[in-house]
């Protein structure tokens, strides 16, 4: 019996709200919550009043109640995503901080020369695979594009190619720089970032792109609120052997132990440096991604709770108005009967 009554009520709801359900499907996504909720709420409320079917007095409060439920569930989802990002961050932050020493010996030996003018350059853009992580992927892409244009400024014969790590970077760079993309590496965080995996990726990149200079663009995890775009420069074997201006004597002042195969030593040096720099870059970027996602989800949860408050007030107002209207009708009807 009770189930029959509930069933009838549900049937009535569906019939009443048949037209308004299509408007519910276009409910703003979580991404919209991270921006400004008020504008989308305003337009949606207007739509609600238009689409409420004629004669269904309880319709608008039902709609608001459905909206409240969906906002509450979005709030729960974003809160959970924030927790997940926090736990991921904890794990990967330790790894990233431990790896910070890895590239320092190479910079101490070879110096840091980002403005070096070369014929062929490869820009490795490190980005994330998943979205909802704030603006860090846009930052990586912006700086990569700027570096490409800077290289083009130095001469018409300068060639620059992109190697993209991460889906989001690919999505952004494909739009206008499709020709300049050499290749793409995805799903690097599935098994966790380890040096073996990065060494394989580095090997792949070096094999497929013979360039003079490799620049890795990533977001360095400075703190929970600060992600600094950083450019790390790695010179190729030929550049090392030829000597670079900027380190004074270059590598000539250094004696090579086992000096009968200098080219092999330079080869290994360049490759190891690239793998080391890339390892640190990927870890730092993953850290920044987790931190940025935490912040974005925190903002989204906050926005959702603000929106829920506003909706609750609207709902109560609508409910009380309809109750007052009913009372007025009943009382005026009774008064009319009495004469």
């Amino acid at each position: 019996m009770a189930s029959g009554r509930v069933g009838n009520r549900i049937a009535k709801l569906i019939i009443c709200h048949g037209s308004s359900i299509s408007s519910l499907r276009a409910w703003p996504t979580t991404a919209a919550f991270t921006a400004q909720p008020w504008t989308c709420l305003g337009s949606r409320m207007a739509a609600v009043q238009e689409l409420a079917p004629f004669g269904a007095r309880a319709a608008s409060s039902q709609i608001v109640r459905t909206r409240m439920k969906s906002v509450k569930s979005i709030q729960k989802i974003t809160k959970a995503m924030k927790m997940v990002a926090a736990s991921k961050l904890r794990g990967i932050q330790a790894k990233a901080e431990n790896s910070r020493g890895l590239w320092q010996p190479f910079v101490a030996l070879l110096g840091d020369n980002p403005g070096i003018s070369v014929k062929k350059k490869v820009i490795v853009t490190v980005s994330s695979d998943k979205g909802l992580c704030g603006g860090i992927n846009s930052t990586s892409v912006k700086y990569s594009k700027a570096l490409l244009r800077m290289n083009a400024l130095m001469g018409a014969d300068k060639e620059t190619k992109y190697v993209i790590i991460g889906e989001k970077g690919k999505a952004q760079l494909q739009r206008d720089s499709r020709k300049a993309i050499s290749f793409f590496v995805g799903e690097t965080q599935k098994i966790g970032i380890c040096f073996t995996q990065v060494a394989m990726i580095a090997d792949d990149i070096l094999k497929k792109n013979k360039a003079d200079v490799y620049q890795v663009v990533f977001n360095k995890f400075a703190s929970m609120v600060s992600f600094l775009p950083t450019v790390a420069t790695v010179l190729s074997t030929e550049m090392l052997a030829a000597g670079i201006d900027g380190k004074g004597g270059g590598l000539e002042s250094y004696e090579l132990e086992d000096a009968d195969m200098p080219s092999e030593i330079y080869d290994n040096l360049a490759e190891f440096q690239f793998a080391a720099v890339l390892y640190n870059a990927m870890l730092e970027n993953a850290c920044s991604e987790a931190g940025a996602r935490m912040r974005a989800m925190e903002n989204s949860t906050q926005n959702a709770s603000d929106m829920l408050e506003r909706l609750t007030l609207t709902y109560n107002r609508t409910r009380q108005t309809s109750i007052t209207t009913e009372l007025i009708e009943i009382i005026s009807g009774a008064a009319a009967l009495e004469g």
């Binding site: 431990n98 030996l109 403005g115 700086y143 130095m154 600094l228 950083t230 040096l269 080391a276």
Partner: protein, 197 residues
Amino acid sequence: MFSRSFAEVAATSSSEKQEKVFGEAQVTEKFKADWKTIAPNFDMPKFPSNFMEVRPPVPSTIPAKLTVNFVLPSQYEIKAKQVDYVIVPATSGQMGVLPGHVPTIAELKPGILSVHDGTDVKQYFVSSGFAFVHANSVADIVAIEAVPLDRFDPDEIRRGVQEYTQKMNSAKDDLEKAEAQIGVEVHSALQYALGIA
């Protein structure tokens, strides 16, 4: 944390507060000007040297101690420790590095790295890597894996040598042969290092 920062070592006047002086990248004026033209609204990116402390300058006399940095991908094993000398397993054999050593770049083969400070000796078995000795008596050792010697099991090592020798003999192509050769080399070095037959 380390007891003396590089800035203190380099500074002529001593200060009570430990100050870390971070490096600057060799950015030419042209780079800065180009950046302003191309991306006037963005700040210049940071460079790795911004996050690295400045190394001490070349001293006029040979210092008493060697400063050692030993880094691995998984951790910063030894950070700016002042020691007497280190012995690294270079490809040409065990190489001793004392303060005032001539600047060298040495590629490492699997073997023992020992850090000597007075009577205190720490030994690690390292996989391949690189060792840089700079003119200012700072030695940087970069390796991929390093394990203290007491963590190894002699039986496993003997078994490993036999297994990889077998694989090398039955290798079908160059790749398998190379992999087996690496296995034999590492296990033999381990065997030699631990002094087991």
